[in-house]
Symmetry: C2
Subunit: 250 residues, 2 copies
Amino acid sequence: MRTTGGNQAAETRRRLLDAAEHLFIDRGYEGLSMRQITAHAGTNLAAVNYHFGNKDTMLRELLSQRLDRLNEERLQLLDACEAAEQLPDCETILGILFVPAMQLGRDPDAGPAFLRLLGRVYSDASPFIRDHLQQHYRPIFGRFFDAFARALPHVPRSELGLRLHFALKSLSGVLATDDMDELVAELSMGQSIPDTELLARLVALVSPALTAPLGTPAQVEKIHRLQQLSQVRSMACSRKHTPPAAPAEA
Amino acid sequence: MRTTGGNQAAETRRRLLDAAEHLFIDRGYEGLSMRQITAHAGTNLAAVNYHFGNKDTMLRELLSQRLDRLNEERLQLLDACEAAEQLPDCETILGILFVPAMQLGRDPDAGPAFLRLLGRVYSDASPFIRDHLQQHYRPIFGRFFDAFARALPHVPRSELGLRLHFALKSLSGVLATDDMDELVAELSMGQSIPDTELLARLVALVSPALTAPLGTPAQVEKIHRLQQLSQVRSMACSRKHTPPAAPAEA
DNA sequence: ACTAGCGTCATACGCGCGTTTGACGCACGT
DNA sequence: ACGTGCGTCAAACGCGCGTATGACGCTAGT
């Protein structure tokens, strides 16, 4: 049996994936080079192409390894809830999205910085990442979109898309940078807060944005006054900037 | 007088800035190369370095030219409101942020795709863009942070930072991609909606997230039930994945 | 008419990128 | 003992990047 050789190969694969994950988390897809990956992994530059074929394939494998389980658990949790109560409300659906993420974030097997990785993935602008998400997780997104649509019948379907985009973009934006540390640290305000309450606070933050009514006359009136005030100001300003005659000497 | 020469130089500068803006809007800072810029501008590769010194200086000049006016108008509008009513509420402050952006978005002088540019700038992850925003507009952000803090006294200052980051990140994320078209098109649902009502809807969407109370016992209970449900599921799942004895042949 | 200087131009330099290549070592099956 | 093949290695390839360098034309002042 070729014990050491086979183990060494598996070890190299793992080290490459670990290094790639670590670098991806704090540099994103752009700014992630094979030379940095292999240097951090302590392997030769050619190792990536030998074990994975090319860079993108390795990244895809890394993302699948990390994200498949998350979305699978989200989906099964949604199934379980719909089977139990058959119409989960908005806050429950948000909880279904958040709870598995937080649990995997606490699980060392899912990666030591799983939440950071999650934030990067959802907020990275590179076409490679966007395509990967689109191709792998579109049906899951569709299921949740339908669940939200049933939970929020008063929100038109077109505006619901905007609001979901809005809410999830913001969440990923918060997860992405170092803010996750601040979130966990500052929300707990010194004393350690149980995950349950922390997630409840997040739900309390996002849910009102999804549930909100479309816009009251009072809000329209406030905006209208601001528009008038701003236009008056800018007209006065432009008249000042283009004086009718030549100005006196400076 | 050296008429043609001077005009041609100014014309080249303008064409370079226009090309850079256009490319930056739909490719971001990364994926923006001087060869593409100069090709679109119809100039020589060396033109950028001749007129601006280097690439980053040109980008900085472009951003300042576009964003300085926006933030100046926001600031003066905030000043005017605070002078008038001395405690603008949350919805009003959001309106102060949105109204000048929308007005400049309608102004051809501010760039034909000003809102797209705005979204790109606020959501671009590159250190260059982030540093520029940090260095130029930190005091403006501080003024608005204080205004929000006064308008939302029940929100702890640490959580307010999170919520503002949350709300503004999401907004920039929506502005960034092609979603701004969808926003304008789908929110109006076929018939053209006045800007006033469109902005009122945006305020109606964002304001509840900032104003929301910190988390009710009912929300905590919902999350708690989901956590238990998820853990039961994952334990059953892991037991299935690591069976006690060797499986029968496949 | 001549020259100075500005704006443009083709071209080249050095660098980092992803990928490819062929040689080397070493554990293995025979 | 020997050949086979797997995993690793240094080195190189072609490419696109930002920047630097002289040469060229044309305008304008003397």
